[in-house]
Symmetry: C2
Subunit: 547 residues, 2 copies
């Protein structure tokens, strides 16, 4: 017998499928594990549609602003490719091409009348994680119990992107609770990695990772409280930025554990180039988000900070790096990723020195305690409200019987966090004092593994400690796991049971071809500098624009 | 019989008294209620010492930087006047002239050798509220149970002020718990208002207010979670700024309810002019506090923002104002203060329009709930640890049996706060849209009363709602209560019991001469603009430099 929650989920799946016009349906799914190249070869997209969807956002907005492309054509192209993406990798929780095309037509009419774009993103489709509220649409966020709730207000970021001229057409899938780095829920099931259906697309912004990865979107909006922008960026060979808290507007977005403010979730873009990330950030900042969302710092885009880095690039950047955080040792492809970045930088005249990760084990434990401060009450309330079961990652991770902490314990936790953050800054200053120059950023793994096999994501610390520190972090795609180059690390003495489990997961054959990335970490609210450094690293690697 | 806590407090009082050299002792306290003019007439200060202590900080640092004054002379002058201040109004919890003079001698030696100052505050004595930690000194913060704890670390702000060249010589008194706007504790008792011993000096930075008010200090460092910089600034006819959270470094300071982060206490200066406030802020920001304290936003002083206001001053500022927040009606002197500012601005070509306070009653209740989130556990733990009783203001204000809220209730509170803040911004934008121009700041009361009689401070809402909003606020001294001009508001129909109580406290005779101020409120992190506007208002009022 089908239970009530299963009926609700099935109904939602039907509604999503029905939102795809007949002519955009794939008659027969491709064989094999990789769907990555299918859209361009499917015969369902015109040459112009392929060309549009494989352009950069930076190019598209230029053509749109000059009237060389129509918003409606760009919108249809991405809607079609997104429809294919969903059929291939199961990445949409909402798909609304009609609303998108209507919006695009209005933009075209505006352009026709005024001979100018409405804003810097005029006519550009932007894909949204299903935490962003759009009036009239459902925000289920992967909880069955949230189905049927239609938004009557709009997230501030949606309003501002709309003001900048962006078009909305899809809201992408997330894992139940948002608190894990794979993307599975009981509504639509699992979102797959377009490059190999046996690998995770990452999470929690995994729908965005898969969608933008397969170019059903050119810029996707994700959120990150413990890696949720960076992990799917890494697993899909994308650029992604976790801005520091207060840079981008989060107001009126849905969230898990809404109101939890000890470690803030932040919102940011995922794209195929650093330039497209910058386009997103500058376009939002032009709308003065601090006048809408009280948590946004009144900090327009600082070109002077970018210029400072460009000038440093001439003289040689000064960077730190680490391969292992002292808690879990990365798989061989990740170690090679770090080595590749370090040696590339060095051979281009930059200084790269070892960075000693400061008490990451402590940081990892602290941030986990923060996530569970309410004894996981909030997330289990939303899971249990429909009777749906927990997804496997949550069963591994969260204890439904955990005791909440009290107010004074929370305040102690705040102090621990603040002290840890300030001690980390002290280490940063100490290195600068020893070197007699500024430390521009730190290169580090973002996960211990390349794009991971399903249900295997165990260790969040490479990502989550950066959230605890609230440092700005930009993911740069580096390379792909290679069974010839990345031999198993035989005889490795694990640091812990967790370390052993993660290490045992490595299989050169199974991971062959999986995307490998690093993160470039800057101090808090250093988006301009850190992105400029990430862009230069991508350029040196030959990955300025990713496939 | 004397109890243990009384012995500890008496011992501390003895130690403070013994820190005052014999030759700086007042032989006979002056008669009457007003001590304000005593120091200059006491015969205990030389003409040069009077001149130094009645200079602006901006002038002093210039003279010190040019070698026209020696740090040791400036330091001794302020130490002597501070010693008089303490004997008159009972404002010091720590007084350490020997350490100060030693520090000043080092600075003079540095100047002698290098022919330049160590930093922008070279040789300037700065008075510290007893939350700032200085190595080797006690931080009791007004709790008997904290006596005997000597600091082994230093607050980040102290470190950075020291780097900038500041000299430390006193830590001033605070009320038990810091959570009230008068200054009484069981260690040294009550701090008095130098202008009239029957009036409060305000609180919680009341020691600073009294000390700087009587020019025992030129710049004082206060903190503000619900008016604690602004109220003593107002009650002592001083300028004071409550920067938004994240502008000035608070790390490693002592605090009540340490780790409470729903509404942050912030640290900022109190002084006799807006220029001296600016000197403090720019000097601290030059030390790049964001590299030391993770909570500080990397935002150097933005002169461009000041220039923008200066240019607007030419064309006419656009300001809002309100006289009553809809909860408690101010006393006649405060109403006249607002009217004076509004009419002065208008007659100088500026636009001043009514601002409708948005849900201040809600904001006032919400912030009070936040202060008491732990059921007042933290503050009563520190009170009860020694057996000392609660001070009268605390007995009025805090319920020791209050139930703490749980984590999910706290998260709901965070959401309420965020929504309220964002709605307030919406109101701000709406007015701007109606007017078709930027709203530069809002003029408002900071308290319902002029400098208040002891134990009468009942309503914190004019201050605390601004803390909830985290808006930048600058206090501008306006005028003095005048029994001839400020008649009792007969026949007033109170809005509530609280309103009636506050209104009943007004007595034209008793308040005659009490300082009256307004606050100038700008959006979050608008220190440059809001201070520039406050400065202009002070200039128009003829109060650029206060007596």
């Amino acid at each position: 017998m089908t239970s009530k929650w299963e009926e609700l989920a099935a109904d939602k799946r039907t509604r999503i499928n029905e939102s795809i016009p007949e002519e955009w349906r794939i008659k027969e799914l491709p064989a094999g594990d990789c769907f990555f190249d299918f859209p361009a070869k499917s015969g369902l997209l015109s040459d112009q549609e392929i060309s549009i969807t494989e352009s950069s956002a930076t190019d598209l907005v230029q053509q749109l602003a000059h009237g060389d492309l129509k918003a409606v054509d760009v919108t249809i192209a991405f809607c079609k490719r997104a429809a294919l993406a969903h059929q291939l990798v199961n990445c949409c929780l909402e798909f609304f091409p009609e609303m998108a095309i209507a919006q695009a037509k209005e933009l075209d009419a505006y352009f026709e009348e005024h001979k100018k774009p409405v804003g810097p993103l005029h006519g550009l489709p932007i894909s949204l994680k299903d935490q962003l509220r759009v009036k009239g649409l459902e925000t289920s966020m992967g909880y069955v119990s949230w189905l049927g709730k239609y938004d009557t207000t709009e997230s501030v970021l949606v309003t501002l992107l709309r003001k900048a001229g962006a078009v909305f057409y899809t809201k992408t899938s997330v894992p139940q609770t948002l608190m894990v780095c794979e993307t599975v829920n009981n509504i639509i099931g699992r979102t797959l990695n377009p490059r190999n259906k046996n690998w995770s697309c990452g999470g929690s912004s995994g729908g965005e990772g898969a969608m933008v990865g397969i170019r059903g979107g050119v810029i996707g909006v994700g959120t990150d409280i413990g890696g949720s922008i960076r992990v799917p960026s890494a697993f899909n060979f994308l650029y992604g930025i976790r801005p520091s808290h207060g840079r981008m507007p989060y107001a009126k977005m849905a969230n898990s554990m809404e109101g939890q403010e000890t470690v803030h979730s932040v919102v940011g873009p995922m794209a195929h180039s650093a330039a497209d990330l910058r386009l997103f950030l500058t376009s939002v900042l032009e709308q003065e988000p601090w006048k809408y969302d009280s948590k946004v710092v009144p900090l327009p885009w600082r070109s002077t900070e970018e210029e400072a880095i460009k000038s440093k690039i001439q003289d040689g950047l000064n960077l730190g790096y680490y391969s292992c955080d002292g808690v879990v040792f990365p798989h061989p492809p990740i170690l090679r990723g770090i080595e590749t970045v370090v040696s590339t930088l060095k051979s281009n005249g930059h200084t790269v020195v070892p960075w000693t990760p400061y008490k990451h084990s402590f940081g990892h434990d602290l941030v986990n305690d923060i996530y569970a401060a309410d004894g996981n009450t909030d997330v289990f309330k939303d899971i249990n409200a429909s009777g749906e079961p927990s997804i496997p990652n949550i069963r591994d991770l969260l204890n439904p019987d955990k005791e909440p902490i009290d107010m004074n314990q929370l305040w102690d936790t705040h102090l621990k966090k603040w002290n840890y953050q300030s001690e980390y800054l002290e280490k940063w200053r100490e290195l600068e004092e020893r070197q007699g120059k500024e430390l521009d950023a730190i290169i580090a793994p973002i996960t211990a593994t390349a794009a991971i096999r399903h249900n295997q994501f165990r260790y969040y610390g490479y990502a989550s400690v950066i959230n605890l520190l609230d440092f700005t972090s930009v993911v740069v795609p580096v390379t792909f796991a290679d069974k010839k180059l990345d031999a198993k690390n035989d005889g490795y003495q694990p640091l812990s049971e967790l370390d052993a489990t993660v290490q045992a997961e490595y299989d050169p054959e199974a991971y062959h071809g999986a995307p490998v990335a690093v993160q470039v970490v800057g101090r808090r609210l250093s988006e301009e500098r850190t992105l400029a450094i990430a862009e230069e690293i991508g350029r040196l690697l030959g990955n300025s624009v990713t496939p």
